[in-house]
């Protein structure tokens, strides 16, 4: 058994000070140590995309990174999206409303890819959405509804953003008046 290494990693805004064995994958740290089982272990060889997380904002396959490499990094998992009270994130709501999932196994990866995409491309068209999810396998939906969900999430979040800005404008004008 090789020596454990001490790491500090921020997962979903919560800082953890951990001792990890070097051969522990980032995926297994999240699932087994931190009990964040939303990140799914699929192929464990970088093909299926079910374990996709964001590391310092970049989409990453948690099965192809060692936990020890996360030292000093900020990680986002699918658990960062919803609220404990069951309120869904707009991306989750879009997948729910547009039948973007059936068995749900690939969904955490799909949601995290969508999260990253919408940050740099708030209103993706179908082609952009398709390219973004190209590295994630789904064996149920045939992808059509997932593409529709990604686009719908973009629309919903952009509109919410505009309404928020409009409201701020109104409040701002109200304050002036």
């Amino acid at each position: 058994m090789s020596d454990k290494q001490r790491i500090t990693v921020t997962v979903n805004d919560q800082e953890h000070d951990l001792l990890v064995e070097p051969r522990t994958l980032a995926l297994d740290l999240l699932r087994d140590e931190l009990r964040l089982t939303g990140t799914h272990a699929g192929c464990e060889q970088g093909v299926c995309g079910a374990c996709t997380i964001l590391v310092d904002g970049k989409i990453t396959r948690a099965c192809l990174m060692f936990a020890v490499q996360l030292d000093g990094c900020s990680v986002e998992t699918v658990e960062s999206l919803g609220s404990p009270d069951g309120t869904m994130h707009p991306i989750q709501r879009a997948f729910s409303e547009n039948h973007g999932l059936q068995c749900g196994f690939c969904t955490p990866g799909m949601l995290m890819v969508t999260q990253e995409l919408l940050r740099r491309e708030p209103r993706p068209d179908a082609e952009t959405a398709r390219a973004a999810i190209a590295g994630n396998h789904c064996r149920c939906t045939g992808y059509q509804h997932i593409v529709a969900s990604v686009c719908a999430a973009g629309r919903a979040m952009s509109e919410a953003e505009h309404q928020h800005v409009d409201r701020q404008d109104v409040e701002h004008q109200g304050a002036r008046a």
């Binding site: 070097p22 522990t24 970049k58 396959r61 099965c63 192809l64 190209a134 590295g135």
Partner: protein, 295 residues
């Protein structure tokens, strides 16, 4: 999934890396992006005793141009290379090949130099490197040497790197300006997979539209990316014409030794080499005629 036990080293300087490699030899592996190595470690196909993680070493993640040569450091991610304006301007065929590597999530972590050092015979970047007459800078405690691309790849997953050497940089000579065109084209069974055949080609034309320089690198069909020298020679002095591309494709297919695999018989791969070479040349010529490099 659990890789076998290994000792993890995360040095802050290259000299420490060379020291580890000199001490442990074939029992040590360099970890850069890990998108191939960790997959093999998960399957326990690879069981290094010492893993030397270079990700914390500063200064290796830069793309620079010096005297017409693009230099790509050992930690430059494939995604960074793919979208780099510098690489797109000077060696567009490398950007075009880079966009075909796996998927974005893999390219965000996987490195250019790592892919070259891994030497998968199907991989896109080695094929483009060979077309560009690129070089690999190898360093160890014994010093530094520069390995030309064609001498780098010895066979599937085998390179000219010695056990104690690390590939620290890839060098790509910029394509000539003017009427030069290049193209990378591949056939994959499914989107994002390794190609069954991939061809990088570069064509240079004179003012009369005659071919003055031709480079063709055929990847994935043989045991390593290889130049199709007979096809290249046959193209010199010819004009851009579909019949010329067809002839060159057939010559290129005869020069290679296709491996039969589950993804295609030797005959099928030879056929693919001919077709993909023809299409790649045709696209490179169209770009050369436009007078500038395009991706």
């Amino acid at each position: 999934m659990k890789p076998a036990v290994f000792s993890y080293q995360s040095p802050r300087t290259l000299d420490e890396v060379f020291g580890e490699l000199a001490e442990h030899g074939s029992d040590a592996r360099v970890l850069a992006g890990g998108q191939s190595l960790i997959r093999l470690m998960n399957a326990r196909t690879e069981t290094p005793g010492v893993l030397v993680d270079i990700n914390r070493i500063p200064g290796l993640d830069e793309v620079t141009v010096e005297d017409g040569v693009v230099r790509i450091g050992a930690l430059v991610r494939q995604r960074t290379s793919e979208v780099s304006p510098v690489i797109r301007e000077h060696t567009p065929v490398f950007s075009e090949a880079g966009a075909e590597v796996a998927h974005v999530s893999v390219r965000e972590r996987g490195t250019v130099v790592g892919s070259i050092a891994f030497a998968d015979p199907c991989a896109e970047l080695p094929t483009a490197l060979v077309a560009l007459d690129g070089e690999i800078v190898a360093r160890s405690t014994r010093g530094e040497r520069v390995i030309p691309a064609e001498q780098m790849f010895l066979g599937p997953y085998r390179t000219a790197l010695a056990e104690d050497e690390m590939a620290v940089e890839a060098r790509l000579p910029a394509l000539p300006t003017g009427r030069t065109g290049s193209a990378f084209l591949e056939i994959t069974r499914r989107h994002g997979e390794l190609p069954v055949c991939g061809v990088a080609s570069i064509l240079r034309l004179d003012d009369d539209g005659q071919i003055t320089e031709a480079r063709i690198s055929v990847g994935a069909v043989g045991d390593r990316p290889q130049r199709a020298r007979a096809a290249e020679s046959a193209l010199l002095g010819r004009t851009t014409d579909p019949e010329v591309w067809r002839e060159a494709g057939e010559l290129a297919a005869r020069e290679i030794e296709p491996r039969p695999t589950v993804h295609g018989s030797s005959a099928y791969r030879r056929h693919l080499a001919s077709v993909v070479t023809r299409r790649s040349l045709s696209r490179a010529a169209a770009r050369a005629l436009e007078g500038a490099h395009h991706v």
